[in-house]
């Protein structure tokens, strides 16, 4: 190992400092939320700067666990996320594979039809009319369907197949009598774990965090996803405080602040926990996808 010059050492120091400060800025609000949710309410409400939990208690979680609406939203969101992600893979993987094949006649035309929709769309009301015509309003179907199709993901998959599967491999397989569909299921898919993991993560995060579709297309309370319930719970007091009303009216319950933190933790942990499991594939998958867009 060569010794570093003084200038490089100074640069390194600044770089490490920059990263450390950035990490603290990114992590502290998340850490605070976690700590506040298990700390004493009087302590949290005082607006103190908290590093470690104080007066540890789980009253907020107990309260949250007893909210049937929270659990219903949770169940719905899990269902929408799981079904939606599977549907997305069902739609995008085969489509991406087909479009990766240079010997597919009219490939360019089909691609153009897909890409055009990335930049041009009917918009809110025409979409609403279509859903009404199809009888999809206020059904769970709509919350599973919307978010499954993404031209961006199809392009990512296509690029991945193009750069990850050598043309010669398929030709060799074809000579041995391997059909297109067998090649896709037996060779192409097993070799694409990384991109499948990346797409699943993208799509699942999208489903988990979306409240817009439910806001527009679904009015039934029992079909509402978690985020819409959270929207009512978490943002209701912003308006009150803004109007100059003191916290007392909105936050009658002293617990309410830490209950919010607890609900935030409960609702965010599942999706955050997905990442470390997929991280292994992630770097690999994104690299492939970004080599040539």
């Amino acid at each position: 190992m060569k010794r570093m010059s003084a200038g490089d050492r100074a640069v390194n120091f600044v770089f490490y400092l920059f990263l450390i400060i950035l990490c603290i800025l990114c992590a502290y609000p998340v850490w605070y939320t976690l700590v506040a949710s298990i700390s004493g309410p009087t302590y949290v409400n005082s607006g103190a700067f908290i590093l470690i939990p104080r007066d540890i208690q789980f009253a907020a979680y107990k309260y949250a666990f007893n909210q049937p609406q929270l659990w219903r939203g949770y169940g719905n969101t899990i269902m929408y996320t799981v079904c939606g992600t599977m549907l997305a893979l069902f739609i995008c993987l085969p489509a991406g594979y087909s479009l990766s094949r240079k010997d597919l006649p009219f490939r360019g035309l089909i691609m153009a039809l897909f890409v055009f929709t990335m930049y041009f769309s009917g918009g809110l009301i025409p979409m609403y009319i279509v859903c009404k015509t199809l009888g999809l309003l206020n059904t769970r179907w709509i919350l599973i369907l919307f978010g499954s199709f993404s031209v961006y993901n199809i392009i990512l998959i296509r690029t991945n197949f193009q750069s990850g599967l050598p043309e010669e491999m398929r030709e060799a397989a074809a000579i041995d009598g391997c059909s297109n569909s067998r090649f896709f299921f037996q060779f192409a898919l097993p070799l694409s774990k990384a991109i499948i993991a990346v797409i699943s993560l993208y799509v699942a995060v999208g489903y988990w965090n979306n409240y817009y579709n439910a806001l527009v297309y679904v009015t039934d309370r029992d079909k509402q996803p978690l985020q819409l319930y959270l929207k009512q719970l978490l943002t209701v007091s912003i308006g009150n405080e803004a109007n100059g009303e003191a916290d007392e009216t909105a936050l009658i319950n002293q617990l309410s602040q830490i209950v919010r933190y607890a609900v935030i933790v409960l609702s965010t942990i599942p999706i955050m926990c997905m990442y470390p499991f997929l991280q292994k594939y992630f770097v690999q998958g994104v690299m492939i996808g970004s080599l040539k867009g």
Binding site: G7, V11, F15, L19, C23, C26, P29, V30, Y32, N45, S46, F49, C92, P94, A95, Y97, L104, P105, I110, F114, Y119, F120, G122, G123, L124, I125, P126, M127, Y128, I129, V130, K132, F146, N180, V205, W208, N209, Y211, Y212, K231, L233, L234, T235, S237, I238, E241, A242, N243, A246, D247, Q257, I264, S267, T268, M272, M274, Y275, V286, G289, S290
Partner: protein, 319 residues
């Protein structure tokens, strides 16, 4: 001289053979078309069919008469929108947020990627990546919920800190003058790590021998970043910049809508929230569609222009 092997055929014959070949390929690969069917069904139902409904922007739409049956209204709704006081407000608000967002949010992920790429410790880099990616997974609802708790006048730690430093508490969530700053910087907080992934990926594509050679020539770290890393990821940077410029007039609905309140509405009403309110709450379907179409056309035009310019200047374009 070898005769051109194709010259044996007349043009007609060539076309026929081409068609026959295409047909054969299509038959051989028919399963590939089957693979496209699910995507195609979605595309037709939820992308192209709604486009047919765009015509209601030029009509007086009502559900009883349907899209085709509703009476035409010409450009009435567009003129109405351009003359309304809302027009200037929503366009200005949208533009000032996206431009602010571009200036504040675009360079940071690039800087972060360059820094991460050039620190020696692999483990530190991985830890820093994981931590900076975390905020990306937080939903906008939760983000705004977190902010309203933490920025709260009485019980939030942010104001606790501000007061301890001897300043009066600041009502960050409830005042119009803070709306843009809170919106943009909370977005930067969420996306800085995630946004750096694409540049990190591009940086791994740089030939390591360039760095080795530069080290032998005595180039320091900053010089190598300036002369090797930045030029190496310039194509990626320009593609990302094209996309940002192209989406100058499109601002996502979800976060703005949830941050809106009666105090900040003068700066927080943007095109997407206005379309939603006119359409879904006031049920002025044609008016809402007209604004939507106006916005889509502007976005499409912007992207095309920016793409053309970029293609001509640097050879980097989306299509």
């Amino acid at each position: 001289m070898q005769p051109n092997p194709l010259s044996r055929y007349t043009k007609k014959e060539l076309a026929r053979r081409n068609r026959a070949h295409t047909w054969k390929m299509m038959k051989e690969n028919r399963v590939l078309y089957l693979f496209l069917v699910p995507a195609f069904i979605y595309l037709v139902l939820f992308e192209y069919w709604p486009m047919y409904g765009i015509q209601i922007a030029f009509k007086n739409f009502n559900f009883a008469d349907g899209i085709t049956g509703s009476p035409w209204a010409g450009t009435k709704w567009f003129r109405y929108f351009f003359r309304s006081p809302q027009f200037k407000a929503v366009v200005t608000n949208t533009l000032s947020i996206t431009i602010y967002n571009l200036i504040a949010g675009f360079p940071l992920p690039i800087i972060l990627a360059l820094v991460m790429n050039s620190i020696p410790s692999r483990r530190f880099k991985r830890v820093a990546q994981t931590i900076t990616y975390l905020p990306h997974f937080i939903s906008v609802v939760v983000l705004v919920g977190m902010m309203s708790c933490m920025f709260s006048l009485k019980s939030g730690w942010v104001n606790g800190l501000i007061q301890r430093m001897g300043h009066p508490p600041v009502h960050l969530m409830g005042q119009a003058k803070y709306f843009r700053h809170v919106y943009v910087w909370s977005g930067v907080w969420q996306q800085v790590g995630w946004g750096s992934i694409i540049y990190l990926a591009a940086l791994t594509g740089i030939d390591p021998t360039l760095h080795e050679a530069a080290v032998i020539d005595g180039a320091g770290k900053l010089r190598r970043i300036w002369h090797i890393d930045i030029p190496g990821i310039l194509p990626t940077i320009s593609i990302m910049l094209i996309m940002r410029f192209g989406s100058m007039m499109s601002l996502g609905f979800q976060k703005v809508y949830i941050m809106q309140n009666s105090m900040n509405i003068s700066v927080s009403e943007v095109i997407s929230t206005y379309i939603y309110k006119m359409g879904m709450i006031d049920r002025r379907y044609s008016y809402s569609s007209a604004i939507n179409l106006f916005n889509t056309v502007i976005n499409f035009t912007l992207l095309t222009i920016v793409n053309q310019i970029s293609g001509r200047l640097s050879g980097n374009s989306l299509w």
